[in-house]
Symmetry: C3
Subunit: 668 residues, 3 copies
């Protein structure tokens, strides 16, 4: 099966005479798939209801003639100026009441019937015209939903929010109970009185905020589904929309079932040494969203992006190394934004596959090299495309928890994803592949499940996690878990929920989070680390982010806090729970300690860890199907110990010297 | 007399069946006073004009049956959503024109006739129903006036501001003169042309800003008085409203005469080592606002709050120690927010007397312990309740100065309260109790008066301060004093005003403030400290915040600047003025130097200082009536040297070892 | 010819009886010119159409009687409140839609016909009344155009912007091409659809932003020209408006031809050690804007200003030293804001020539001393007034480049002026005087031209720079030059534009800017410096701000990057181009290295450098006409080596010891 290779192709930015050269260059570069039309609405419909498809016919025909398949966008991501001028109420409004203007992109209120109806009409026209086009490989709905405008506070959104709430709660008293409006005199007498959480004198109602997060994600999903409905009625070609990794505003768990092929836009900062590890986590999420199915890396940059305050170029080889990371973790395609670097507009300094400098450039040479390699790896004898990357360890991921734990008026400021990242890194550094899962899902395929700061937990989730341990799994619960139910009502009596309290054998009496290191109160010393001691964690260790008063009802204390008012309180516990084991951590151990902890948990759970592929930790090693990928993210050469043949060089992998940014694809 | 003990009680957040348990628990915890109804408007008046008092009858009757007295709130602090929906113009507007929405609390324009009228009607209904209720101990008007919305810039406020200005100035030319509108072409031709100081291209008129600060404080006071008027017509029960310590937007001097019992909400940060000293200053302010009368600590947290970026838990004993600090400094009651920690809403992570974890918790145990102790100390034989804490040293405090000196377009950015705090700490660390006073008030009861950065001074204030020295007092004037009159017109000829210039024997030629340490101009070195030298201050010393060119007309130079362009200029002066002494400081000496200076001033003034109660400085010692309170805020044990009996343990106080957070109440 | 001396005179802030004393004091202080009426509109026209000139007659007559000449302002800088109340649409609006209110100054939309018409009427009345007044020396139009409000986003501005665009582009398709609206679906179907670049979901169209910058500068110029037209019709007296140094919002190159006498307001921070060097650059700009003609220092502060967060006083002598810097660099007048320090209003803490403390102050004494000196230097025998300061080295300055290179969505955040400053300092520290020039101007008078980060370059500019080198000049081109044309369309094929690529013999393949030192990404090390090596720059050196992949087609490599992915790439190149030489720098060398580079370039170009005037670098030395000015900005004495007589002391200059802040004016 093919490993797709290509990128966003925006020929409308260039004269017609370049298009033929584009196709010739694509062929030379090994390009097999081009995404077309993402930002073409204003060109396709220059005036209301007046369509111009001739140029797009030409584009598709030209690509098809050149053997390039097409990922055809619905072009609804950026409405034309005329729509805003005719219907200014379709422009989005911020929480302080600023109506955002035309002039960039994504300037639409997700709840706007005007926007949705005009988008629907455009999609209908596109589908009618191109559903049967022979170049069509994939439908690409909209683009990066919510990237700039995920929450809208206009009157139209307010009305939609009221409808959403009425559908959810039915009776206003149920909303009052859920939102806890008895506090601060917020009782609503009817749904008509409810507004979005606009700027207010102080902290807004937390459940209102959470419901508005849910509503906002749902409204975007409704936009997506409205387009899908039009396409499905006339086309069997698969549909995708491009995700953006760990993207807080949109609950991808709710979206994924409606998407035929998961795809992702990913732009790790080349200057950040944490990027390879963070990107690995993102790839694992994409695979997990699709239930393990192959996915597409829909967008990455050939070199620098242009939207950071500082935009580092990728160093030579870095683009290739990061591309293989995606393939290793389940991607069946590597695409870029964009084919030809723009000459004008807001992204002209975003690198392109064909840079401003042309093809006598290192960027183009790397594009061409990778294209050739992926074409060779697409051969049926390799067995790469369509194969699976499998995991026996999972981390729970939950958008409600993410939204809630980062709300203001919380015990301390935490980053949900940073906590997940700490766990993912600890596990990955042991050579394990990790899935992300929903806490209420089927966990039976895993030996170890980690639930880090699963702040908002339904009864079903609490019970499912507890059952996983009772049924023989190793369950690791991090602080800040099941603090509330799905209405943000605190779980009284020690947090965690009764089933988890029983399974873990602990309850939490009081939070006592340490001050974050960057706290800058006048006259205050930098916060000391949280210190603890315990054999299971290799003796004395340090943690951060959190600590608390934990009470042990029935568990073994693996580590104990040693300093400050918490001295003597349990920091880490373990309980033999039914057939399995349940761990609780009242802080976030520092990376080395966390790695040791995780290693002991894995060992005890009997999860097999492959022998290390190299001496150091700089080389990422991932198995996909029968192949083992090794990628050197470090700054020194690394000698491989893998048995087999490197498909990229044809050499024997054992003893192979991987340079920095080097990659081997080893067939045993 | 009773030392009250209790807290905010919000039973409407909980099922009826818990209420009886609440009262039983209150009895067990020694609770004597419950504040009820602070955020109950939407529950009491669920629809316009439709009242529901049955549940509140039940609450009051249940408390009364249990022997708990009631501080009954007027419930006007957070209007119900229906009021805003029916009268959106009652919502407040920020200076950039954002209308703040329902969804948190305090969402009303203080000048709104709609708000005031609806509040008045609610209060009338409450008074009619409960004025004669046997549980009623205190009326609690509104809540934390101005906490989130102190200044409103809407059209209604604009009209009210114009009326306020017309009443103050009478003729528009008087406003023009006062505001100095000849500068920047701001002359108004009629009051109709005046607006609140909304966002403008650059610095707004300073006197307009100051008048708007005064107006805003007055409008909130008018809200308070409107409610008081309704209550007074039907009830003789005392009235309070809860202050918030050093709260800039509201001029508590103007409010205090209208309040029967001063009460305060106080939330020092448990993680900030400066908190005990800062809180001591706040307690002294509350006592001073009531003219020395006992006051109520209306709200504090049992442990953590939830509204900081990071919310530390109080360490074991800290809540108790800080509670005794208030009692020592004049409080006749210790109350908390809130009784039962909320299960939902914006303050669910604000600790409660009954925590989420229930009563088998260290928080509840500490609540119960303190309740028992205070009940014992309430005994008539102890003589604590109603007794007075007295001071012979005073610091002037002035809201006009606070507002003005922190305006933009000033010589340098200073924090008025930080300057007061430096002086308060220096005096308190010597074992002195300090009052805050108005500069125009009767100062004859004090031996030493400090006027730190009394920036805006009326003629009466300047003369009163000068007279205090001439009549035999020791007057200490800090830089930045009497720079302007009450219209913010500069006092020409050397600042300070003619009487003070004569009494001090100095005039100020020019300000030359040092750069603050955190100034981050590119390529600029961190600002060096201000250096000076002089025997009276113990030799060479350093200062900060300010320095200036002072000219001595007739005074003794006690210290001289030694570095930079000011080298050789006077830093500290003294003059024998009439029967007394007048000191001037042109900088803020560092704490140790300031303490030595203050000590010398105190010595010379013949103010008696009690012998130190311990070796170190970590123990706060305060005399109230006949009792001496000792509180150990340090991290090591401290041995007491006080003669008498510790009423808390019954032990001999002399030689008693106070652990960290330990307290002794010593009867000689 | 006279060196003017004086300042803003606002007698309307003071009682009439002070005016006569003012004139007597002015005479004592050597004042020859007073700026009158800058903020007098509300006083001159207290009600619509009702003028009051009597007081201004009095002011002008009184000054004239005292021999003081008048710089008469048109008083249009701050409209009276009544104008805004009658025509609220004349108030400016921010990009987030906030309408800025009366209460400070400059509260007008520059495109407002209401404002312009009322201003025109006022100017007409002033001109009619005072054109023939014998005191009149200069017309002073408005004040600091754009200082607070340079861009307005209201509906009136939107309409004006559309007209401006229509006039520029003619057809909407030309705008679409220029703005690159094919990207992000921004195609406009008519000019009616275009709006100002208001707040939008993400990065706004770069060419729209640039055109809006151009439009905004033009609209202010149109305001200026509307007033000039009225004056010119009735008066031959010269006209000025006061510039503000390197002021980004206004393109002074486009303004300068319309101004008779260039004048500047300048407020370097006395606490910033970089201020003297930065101010020198500003003086050179003012001289350059007037084509070398004498200019006026229209405003500086006698000591502190009041609008910084921290406002340092000038140290004794600093005001005088900085005043002579202006004279040395071409100023024929030294004026201050303002004569008498205000007693009220937003600038009461801005120092005045007559301070709050009166005339027995060091500030007044320094004012008086300088006045006397300048009067003596005004003598015809001295030959100072009207004489020229000449330069043989020039730096290109371009507002389009400034606006564009600091736009968001660029490779990295750079400060255009900081880059210019680095070059100016390097050249000035060698004792050279530097002009600023337009890249398309006549460069034939210079031996060396530096084009630093000339980001936006027209074809004419690219060709003119290349021709300068080909014709025998030494051209130094810095990174980031000619990246785009004037429509912000990237110059493909290696940037720089074809003529410059040929002249330099290089092309740029890809940007790879280093991270700025203050980048605070979590877990990221501080960015290392850019390192390079090369004899011409004195061996190994370090740079910052920028680095890139440069390809040499035909040039000599003078330095090579030595670290990171760029190791081995050219950092600095040189090519013999026609009769001249062309250098290219791919980074910004650190100051010492840059100075050495510049020194080598200057040497090779045969530009004569005067022998150093002292041992160290702390003394600024500038030749104007026949006189040499030496100013000691350091903190130690410096011994002069200049032959001739110091006109200030009459001493022999050789061996003269200049103290810190000391000045010598040496006649050879």
């Amino acid at each position: 099966m093919t490993i797709w290779y290509g990128g966003d192709y925006n020929p409308e930015q260039w004269p017609r005479e370049l298009w033929d050269e584009d196709v010739r260059l694509m062929q030379r570069g090994g390009i097999s798939l081009a995404t077309v039309g993402v930002f073409s609405w204003a060109r396709l419909e220059p005036r209301p209801g007046e369509y111009d498809f001739a140029w797009l016919d030409d584009v598709l025909d030209t690509l098809h003639a050149g053997g390039i398949r097409v990922d055809l966008a619905t072009a609804t991501a950026s409405p034309p100026p005329w729509l805003a001028r005719r219907h200014p109420e379709m422009l989005p409004v911020t929480e302080t009441g600023v109506r955002l203007e035309v002039g960039s992109r994504q300037h639409y209120c997700p709840s706007s019937p005007v926007y949705r109806e005009h988008a629907r009409r455009l999609v209908l026209s596109l589908v009618e015209r191109y559903a049967a086009h022979p170049a069509l490989e994939l439908w690409h709905v909209n683009n990066e939903y919510g990237c700039h405008v995920s929450h809208c506070y206009c009157e139209v959104s307010a009305a939609a929010f009221r409808s959403w709430l009425q559908a959810k709660y039915g009776a206003i008293e149920d909303l009052n109970r859920a939102w806890g409006t008895a506090f601060w005199s917020q009782r609503y007498d009817s749904f008509d009185e409810v507004e979005p959480p606009r700027a207010a004198p102080t902290f807004r109602n937390p459940t209102q905020l959470l419901d508005f997060d849910r509503f906002s994600s749902d409204e975007l999903l409704a936009c997506y589904q409205a387009e899908v409905e039009v396409i499905r009625a006339a086309s069997d070609v698969p549909i995708t929309t491009n995700f953006m990794g760990f993207f807080k505003p949109v609950d991808y768990w709710r979206w994924a079932p409606h998407i035929d092929v998961i795809s992702d836009d990913t732009y790790p900062d080349p200057a950040d040494p944490r990027s390879p590890a963070y990107a690995a986590m993102v790839r694992d999420l994409m695979r997990s969203l699709g239930g393990g199915a192959p996915w597409l890396l829909m967008e990455q940059s050939p070199s620098a992006v242009n939207w950071r305050a500082h935009n580092a170029a990728k160093v030579p080889g870095q683009m290739r190394a990061w591309s293989y990371q995606s393939v290793a973790r389940g991607a069946d395609g590597i695409l870029f934004f964009q084919w030809r670097q723009s000459q004008a507009g807001s992204e002209k300094f975003h690198s392109g596959m064909v840079p401003h400098g042309g093809t006598d450039t290192r960027v183009w040479r790397e594009i061409e090299q990778l294209g050739g390699e992926l074409r060779r790896l697409s051969g049926a004898e390799v067995g790469l495309g369509g194969s699976r990357t499998r995991a026996s360890v999972a981390i729970t991921l939950d958008w409600d928890s993410w939204w809630a734990v980062e709300q203001p008026a919380s015990p301390t400021a935490v980053s949900y994803v940073e906590i997940l990242f700490a766990w993912h890194q600890a596990l990955t550094s042991l050579g394990l592949t990790v899935d992300f899962v929903r806490a209420e899902g089927d966990l039976s395929g895993y030996r170890v499940v980690v639930a880090p700061t699963h702040f908002v937990a339904t009864d079903a989730q609490v019970e499912n996690l507890a059952s996983f341990a009772e049924a023989g799994g190793s369950l690791v619960v991090g602080f800040g878990t099941a603090i509330t139910d799905e209405q943000l009502h605190v779980r009284l009596g020690g947090y965690l929920g009764e089933p988890l309290r029983r399974t873990l054998g602990v309850r939490v009496e009081e939070f006592a989070p340490p001050a974050p290191p960057d706290l800058r109160n006048t006259g205050r010393e930098p916060a000391p680390p949280v210190l603890f001691d315990g054999e299971f964690l290799g003796g004395a260790g340090a943690g951060s982010v959190w600590s608390e008063y934990v009470r042990v009802d029935d568990a073994e204390v693996l580590a104990t806090f040693t300093e400050g008012p918490l001295a003597g309180c349990p920091a880490v516990t373990r309980r033999a729970a039914g057939e399995g084991t349940a761990f609780y951590l009242a802080t976030l151990p520092d990376p080395a300690v966390l790695r040791l902890f995780v290693s002991n948990v894995i060992d005890a759970a009997g999860v097999p860890i492959a022998a290390p592929a190299t001496d150091g930790e700089q080389v990422e090693v991932v198995r996909r199907g029968d192949l083992v990928f090794a990628i050197n993210h470090g700054s020194a050469d690394a000698e491989l110990r893998l048995a087999g043949t490197d498909l990229l060089t044809g050499s024997n992998a054992s003893g192979l010297l991987l340079p920095p940014q080097g990659v081997a694809v080893v067939k045993p």
